[in-house]
Symmetry: C2
Subunit: 194 residues, 2 copies
DNA sequence: CCCTTGTATATGAGTTGTCCTATATTTGTC
DNA sequence: GACAAATATAGGACAACTCATATACAAGGG
């Protein structure tokens, strides 16, 4: 599964503890691509360890709990490379908003608008977060030039998806306003600047 | 979870068997919003049945296996309505392609292009399927006008996402061609028609 | 006549992901 | 001084989802 490879990918950069992975990786830019529960991270590390894809050593710390630092092994590196270089099928779509909207035939326009507007807000804040991540990624010189480039490509992809969702929601909301309130019709498309 | 509500939604239209749900619903237009395994459908029907949200009766058939026809109960109807009318948080992002791309710093341009091109193809065929579903939906008069309208809105949303992915992939692939092959530089953006 | 496909339901076993809780210590806030 | 938050790892219980298999019969093709 993908979480294995996500973790291998992060460990390929440098050695990390489970806590590092949770706070610095899966709550940072990577959260735009993949999210992972803390419990799942530790369990996956354990599993990868059993499969000899990573190995760990314990670093004693005074005052704080000991850290288990994990690093990738040649076996893990090989698994990561194999996964990275070959295309994978798209996962099946599971979009609760589209599902909900498809069953909203009994809602009136204001109710529908509320649902869409809420989704719009969420997509907007995701987009905002992505912009921050992209800025951080650009100024991060700790990873190679090439790695930075592909990270930015991926962030662009994530942003494109969010923008598409926002535009679609705007169009849909506008459509509802035109047909329902019957009132002041508002012409002209929104001008960008999301 | 959403599958419960998806099934309730379909049963709200008319009574159906598990097989109907699988073949006519989750392999049709709904596959664009939510996919479900056959085993999961039957088990969910059983669970909904225990929760009194649906009830079933067995219709004997000659030659073929008996069908268990499920219909939604007032309790189920209430659960569906409650779910449909209130906004829900976006699920966490889990995009294997973005993840893979983010870790592709060690791939050369042709390898990267191959991965992106494969994804493009998949998004394209998803978009094609969506167009077919939209056409079918438009000409389907069995559901109310309002229901048809929201279904089309949802299909538009799904198509917008696919188009955004395709455009982003095209841009990314083009970028790779410009920087790597060094050869004939190709100017001007692709002109629509996806 | 066999084999596949379609119709129809269901279970067993496994993976993946979520939520809650436990443990232990330091630092910072009210 | 009490209480929360950060640092750090881990297990139990459960929910959601996948894959394979079992059962049963009819129709149609080779």
């Amino acid at each position: 599964m993908s979480l294995d490879h996500a973790i291998l990918g992060f460990l390929a950069e440098r050695e990390r503890s489970g806590y590092d992975l949770k706070t610095r990786c899966f709550e940072g830019a990577a959260s735009a691509f993949w999210s992972a529960d803390q419990a799942q991270i530790y369990r996956t590390l354990e599993r990868l360890s059993r499969g000899k894809a990573v190995k760990s050593r314990t670093r004693r710390q005074s005052g704080r709990p000991d850290r288990r630092l994990y690093e990738i092994t040649p076996i893990g590196r090989q698994q990561l490379d194999a996964w990275v270089e070959c295309p994978h099928p798209l996962p099946p779509t599971r979009d609760p908003l589209l599902l909900q909207l498809g069953f909203s035939g009994d809602l009136d326009d204001p109710e529908l608008r509320e649902v869409l507007a809420a989704a719009r807000l969420e997509h907007q804040s995701k987009l905002d977060a992505l912009r921050v991540h992209a800025t951080n990624q650009s100024s991060d010189t700790s990873l190679g030039e090439r790695t930075t480039a592909v990270r930015l490509l991926a962030l662009n992809g994530a942003m494109a998806t969010q923008r598409a969702a926002i535009d679609w929601l705007d169009d849909s909301i506008e459509l509802l306003e035109d047909t329902s309130s019957g009132g002041a019709r508002r012409k002209g498309r929104r001008i960008g600047r999301r």
